[in-house]
């Protein structure tokens, strides 16, 4: 009974949010997430069940928020890097380094958790700055420059942990990935705080505009007086910081630092989240909230497989199909070629489109906040 009411409330809020986003680019990302949730509402028993245990809320949707925190944090840094026309392949390896540093300081060196976390974040920032130096300073192609740290990073992480899996029980570190605040997972607060901080940083100042102009045309923005190198250095450093945070959350989740597996393939998930969020891989205009919702979408997909007892080994296949589908729908060539096929349906829907302002022409002309 309670479930039924809370579900109705959830869909009501979701519907209002979706309606208020009409005409915006992230409408489609949120809509895709809604479709996935709707599928679960009807076909995955127990997915929408939420129970209260010891004052905390538990349920599949909260698992999505908690487990998705890593990808959402990574996508915050990644979206800015991709907006400048680059890509950061090293975030998974930086996660492993941050996890290794914090665990080693905590367990082997007996340092307080505050110092362990601070040093781990500092080293991730340095790792990000190193990528930025290679890209901005030496002018190396981003995919290549970050490949160096992607390959060497895991080796460095293993060097730090001396090839061991370090287990820890420190309450502060465990709280980071497993704790609850206001009855909700702490990671949710962390992601929202980081999102707010990033939003203020890029939209509250001219930085966001600079990033977009560098991504659109590196040379032209340099002639316009924007220090493109500085902007690039900053976004890669910020991506390193986000990766460090994600690494701390990841090792806290499993209460140990496993240099081989922490963040494995997560760089790919983060890039995918950014693309699903509506940002083009070629740079330019970026969608911060879209990237975070893209991360949420990926995690919902993964959790759906778990809830439906699909083997985690097989789950990459539908994920691959999602990647191809998302890329195709964003591709100009695909829309041109297959647009005619859907034209009749598009025409039939015309009254609805005009009623809800869903026409593509309007959705690109929304004023910048």
């Amino acid at each position: 009974m309670i479930d039924w009411v809370s579900d109705l409330l959830f869909w009501l809020v979701f519907g209002v949010v979706l309606f208020s986003l009409r005409g915006k680019r992230i409408f489609w990302t949120v809509g895709a997430l809604g479709l996935l949730l709707l599928f679960n509402q009807f076909f995955t028993p127990g997915f929408f069940h939420i129970q209260v245990l010891g004052g905390h809320l538990y349920g599949s949707r909260l698992d999505v928020l908690n487990q998705g925190a890593k990808v959402m944090l990574l996508s915050l840094g990644m979206v800015l890097v991709i907006a400048t026309g680059g890509v950061d392949l090293s975030v998974g390896a930086v996660m492993a380094i941050a996890a290794a540093v914090s665990s080693r300081l905590l367990v082997t060196e007996h340092q307080p958790p505050g110092i362990a976390i601070a040093v781990a974040l500092l080293i991730s920032i340095l790792a990000g700055a190193w990528n930025g130096l290679l890209v901005a300073g030496f002018g190396i192609q981003p995919i290549v420059a970050t490949l160096v740290l992607m390959v060497a990073g895991r080796g460095i992480a293993q060097l730090i942990t001396e090839g061991q899996i370090i287990n820890f029980l420190d309450p502060t570190m465990v709280y980071l990935g497993n704790g609850h605040l206001f009855g909700l997972p702490f990671t949710l607060t962390l992601v929202l705080a980081m999102l707010l901080l990033t939003y203020l940083m890029v939209r509250g100042t001219a930085l966001g505009l600079f990033i977009e102009s560098v991504g659109d045309n590196d040379e032209a923005s340099r002639y316009a007086g924007i220090n493109a190198k500085q902007v690039k250095l900053l976004v890669y450093t910020f991506s390193g910081f986000c990766a460090g945070l994600a690494g701390l959350v990841a090792c806290s989740n499993i209460r140990s630092a496993d240099a081989n597996n922490i963040g494995l393939y997560l760089e790919l998930d983060a890039i995918l989240a950014v693309v699903i969020g509506g940002t083009s891989l070629s740079g330019g205009r970026f969608y911060l909230v879209g990237a975070v919702i893209g991360g949420l979408f990926i995690q919902t997909l993964t959790t759906t497989f778990y809830a439906r007892n699909v083997s985690s080994d097989i789950s990459p296949v539908p994920k691959a199909l999602v990647i191809i589908a998302v890329c195709l729908f964003q591709a100009e060539a695909f829309r041109k070629r297959f647009g005619q096929l859907f034209l009749p349906i598009w025409e039939v829907l015309k009254p609805i489109r005009t009623r809800f302002h869903l026409s593509p022409a309007e959705r690109h002309d929304t004023p910048r906040p």
Binding site: V87, F138, G139, I140, Q141, I143, V144, A145, L147, V148, L149, M150, V151, A152, G153, R154, G155, I156, Q158, L159, G163, A259, L264, L268, I271, L272, V275, L281, S311, D313, I314, S315, P316, V317, P318, K319, A320, L321, I323, I324, C327, L328, A331, E332, A333, F334, R337
Partner: protein
């Protein structure tokens, strides 16, 4: 003195690094320079090397192929399962090669016809093949077909006392030879270089962009599938969970082999040297005994950095002359 064109400088640097690493190994460890170690090296690196040859073509054309590791694992489990079901080994290998070419062409078509980023499309290939491997069979299957246990060992050749060149190493060398021929002496090879250097100029010159690109990815799929077959010779089993991250080794050996990741510059024999450098580093770490395997990754990372900076320096100097 013979003057070298700038495009040969990375190749020369790779050769120098290869000799230096080999010299260092032979200096420190008395048995390092024996033919037996070299044969072992070729055997151990065979499947990485074959995959790297295919990867070289994709990178030369200005793209990237991330699906290599998954393809090898997929082909491995496919062959193991077919043999378990009583299939003829040659038919199984033929099916595997067809699957490789098909997967490569599908990725190539998506990349060309819809102008999608190769990075994301081959990433989809990575996920898809990895998952499909588990669909075929979720666990490792051992291969005990008579072809593997009796015929294969007879195919090896004694090339020096105590040094038997196994069939896997021969496949590797053959793949490098075929790749070098395709890259340097055929119209297809020249088209790949042209597209990698500048796609627009290539189009204006009348190079068939689409055909060349799709064939390039199909070829990479073929070499990856071949690497998968050779991996079953080497492992005598198929496992859908194996070779995670092998694409990184392949890409790293291509770059260390002097191929520019932006495309258009590089040689297939360079890739052979890059693969051998990778293998030698692993051998040295094994010979040393006290160093841990994670040093391999760090050394490869450092070498990558050195080569990337070197290439940057060369291309900048060349651009300077042009301007």
């Amino acid at each position: 003195m013979i003057r070298l064109g700038p495009k040969y400088v990375p190749l020369l640097a790779t050769a120098i690094v290869l000799l230096a690493v080999f010299g260092m190994g032979s200096l420190f460890y008395p048995n390092f320079g024996t033919p037996r170690v070299i044969v072992n090296l070729l055997n151990d690196m065979a499947f990485v090397g074959i995959a790297a040859v295919g990867e070289s073509f994709v990178i030369l054309s200005g793209g990237i192929d991330l699906s290599v590791g998954s393809m090898i694992a997929f082909v491995g489990i496919l062959i193991a399962r077919l043999l378990q079901a009583g299939c003829d080994p040659f038919l199984a290998m033929a099916i595997a090669l067809c699957v490789g070419v098909l997967a490569g062409s599908v990725m190539g078509c998506l990349i060309h016809f819809f102008d999608l980023p190769p990075f994301l499309m081959t990433l989809a290939g990575l996920f898809c093949l990895r998952g499909l491997g588990f669909v075929i069979y979720p666990e490792s299957i051992g291969i005990d077909h008579p072809f593997y246990s009796q015929v294969l060992p007879q195919l090896s050749v004694l090339i020096a006392p105590k040094a038997v060149l196994p069939f896997t190493a021969m496949c590797f060398l053959a793949a490098v030879a075929i790749g070098s021929f395709l890259g340097s002496f055929t119209r297809f090879g020249r088209n790949v270089y042209a597209i990698g250097s500048n796609e627009n100029s290539a189009r204006l010159m009348g190079v068939p962009i689409g055909q060349t690109k799709i064939v390039t990815y199909a070829l990479a799929g073929f070499f990856s599938a071949l690497a998968g077959i050779v991996a079953t010779f080497y492992m005598q089993s198929g496992n859908p969970a194996s070779f995670v991250g092998l694409e990184l080794d392949a890409i790293a050996s291509v770059v260390i082999g002097g191929t520019l990741l932006t495309g258009g510059v590089g040689f297939i024999p360079g890739t052979l040297m890059g693969v051998l450098i990778l293998g030698l580093i692993q051998q040295i770490i094994i010979f040393n005994g006290t160093l841990n395997s994670w040093w391999t990754k760090i050394v490869i990372g450092v070498l990558l950095l050195v080569f990337i900076v070197l290439q940057k320096f060369i291309s900048r100097r060349r651009a300077g002359i042009g301007a």
